[in-house]
């Protein structure tokens, strides 16, 4: 058993952590508060921290959603992120199974898969842009889904492989002896047992794609405008709509915040592609 620490020590630890909390949460709190300010209040000196009570309404949220492409942004991002996540998890799970159980292609093949995830996106942006332009599919949902999948599929493969590696192979072997096909064993034994892995992989790839900016910026114009592009375009004119940007930001961080809150158990695993478990 851990011995109880003296009070002064606990107070010091608490004080430092409180300071850290202030540091890490201030920008998020600032954004939340800004989303209720008027344009004038943004520029007030000294800075206004908390807007007056009567301004706590959804005006900025309604403005960004209805006048400044916010609704389109949410819709496009939702489409791109969910389809990317579904593709990544479904084909990722199949490949992960093959790598974990058959050691398909050995270490070199695993390495090749993960290395595509590690490439700087900007390095593949030029050739992808040229290819997509030739195919005439720039400015569609598909172009973003494909580009994001290149980075999220390898992530899903490695993460899911770490979950399958944890399962005893005997369960599947028993099913095979009883006459199941390999795919049957995979579907009825492995998949249900790695449900937490599937959920983790889905949510992480969803948030990664949801937050992605560079491909969204380079590959879309008008027909498709993901939320990150909508936000950055609000800074384009000569007046920057800070309050609306903040409102858009609050909307945009929702999936990420939910992952942090509800995926505690698997967050280390997710962030390290399965290299670490907790």
């Amino acid at each position: 058993m851990r011995k109880r620490k003296p009070l002064y020590l606990r107070l010091i630890i608490g004080a430092i952590l409180l300071l850290a909390l202030l540091f890490f949460l201030f920008p998020v709190a600032w954004m939340f508060l800004t989303s209720f300010k008027t344009q004038d209040q943004i520029f007030s000196v000294p800075p206004l921290l908390i807007p007056p009570a009567e301004q706590w309404n959804l005006d900025n949220y309604i403005a960004i959603l209805t006048q400044n492409n916010g609704l389109q942004g949410v819709r496009d991002t939702m489409i791109v992120a969910s389809v990317t996540a579904i593709i990544s998890v479904s084909i990722g799970a199949l490949a992960a199974y093959s790598l974990a159980r058959f050691r398909f292609g050995g270490d070199e093949f695993s390495f090749w898969i993960i290395s595509t995830r590690m490439f700087p996106p900007v390095a593949s942006a030029v050739p992808l842009f040229l290819i997509f332009r030739q195919l005439g599919i720039l400015d569609t949902h598909w172009v973003l889904i494909v580009a994001n999948s290149v980075f999220n599929v390898p992530f899903a493969v490695w993460l899911l492989k770490s979950f399958i590696d944890d399962l005893p192979v005997e369960l599947e072997e028993a099913a095979l002896i009883e006459g199941a096909t390999i795919f049957g064993a995979f579907r009825r034994i492995t998949l249900p047992l790695i449900t937490p892995g599937l959920v983790t992989a889905f949510l992480f790839t969803f948030v990664f794609t949801w937050n992605e900016f560079m491909f969204a910026l380079l590959m879309t114009r008008r027909a498709v405008r993901p939320m990150t592009v909508v936000i950055s375009s609000l800074a384009g004119g000569h007046t920057i709509l800070w309050a609306q940007i903040a409102a858009a930001g609050v909307i945009t961080i929702i999936p990420g915040v939910l992952v942090v809150i509800f995926l505690q158990r698997y967050i280390v695993r997710g962030l390290t592609m399965g290299a670490l478990k907790n």
């Binding site: 430092i16 890490f24 790598l99 159980r101 593949s124 942006a125 999948s149 937050n211």
Partner: protein, 299 residues
Amino acid sequence: MFSSGVKQRWVAFVFVLPVLVLLLSVSIYPLLRTLGLAFSSLELTVSPVETFIGLDNFAKAFSDARFWNAMGNTLTLVTVGVAIQLVLGTALALLLSEIGFTRVVWLTALLLPVMIAPVVSGFQFRVIYNDTFGPLNYLIKTLSGGLVTGPPWLADTRTALFTIMMTDVWQWTPFMMLLVLAGLESIPLELTEAAEVDGAGYWGTFWRIKLPLLLPVIVIGLLIRVMDTFKTFDLVFLLTGGGPGSSTETIAFYTYLNGFRFFSMGYTAAIAFIQLIIIIVIARVFLVVQKRMRGGGIQ
């Protein structure tokens, strides 16, 4: 059961096939295209015709001061920035490991920055750092009793890169903290208690017992952060646009400028290729460490 047999090998192949097709078409083909382009001149502002020019693009890169400047800035972010994240993250993890049942609440709150899009936080930081109406300099002024005036963080060549680095520190220190905390939790309590009974003291225990056991976790964390920081683009795009001057241009941002502002596709491909080689080296190290850990058993 899973290892041998022609049929098994076919099944293994079929399972991998969708991923293989996707990665081959959208990763390998572009890679070859990049390689081809890197030896060609393709100036989209002039003409859509590609001409072979041998190693000229690479020669240009090596004598391009702006390329080296971008490499230098990236290196600063990757070394100094990630080092700060590691030290702060480890310190926070050590503090959190002393906390009892409320730990989960602290952890959740501290982790938020990790999952927030840089586009979103970047805009907030632009206001926070602003030297006329931003809260940071107001805070500095108030705390110092009006004696110290904060610099125009993003508008001064001397502070801009540092400011971007601190923004990255804000976002990724919690990641390091999380990893180190996970590592600390996997250290058997008997080990640290035995050391303390032997009179090693808190710091003795930390340096001689905890840190060596944390090393694999720290290495994984460092490699992931190094690889990601190497690609820094969003923050530069949003906070400074590479300026003032080119004082905050990272290599990813410089690549973007060449490709999508100057439309020099050949040169872009060449510097993209140089980055690929660097990343492959780092990724190799990651793989080796990761395999060692699997064998070593810290989980």
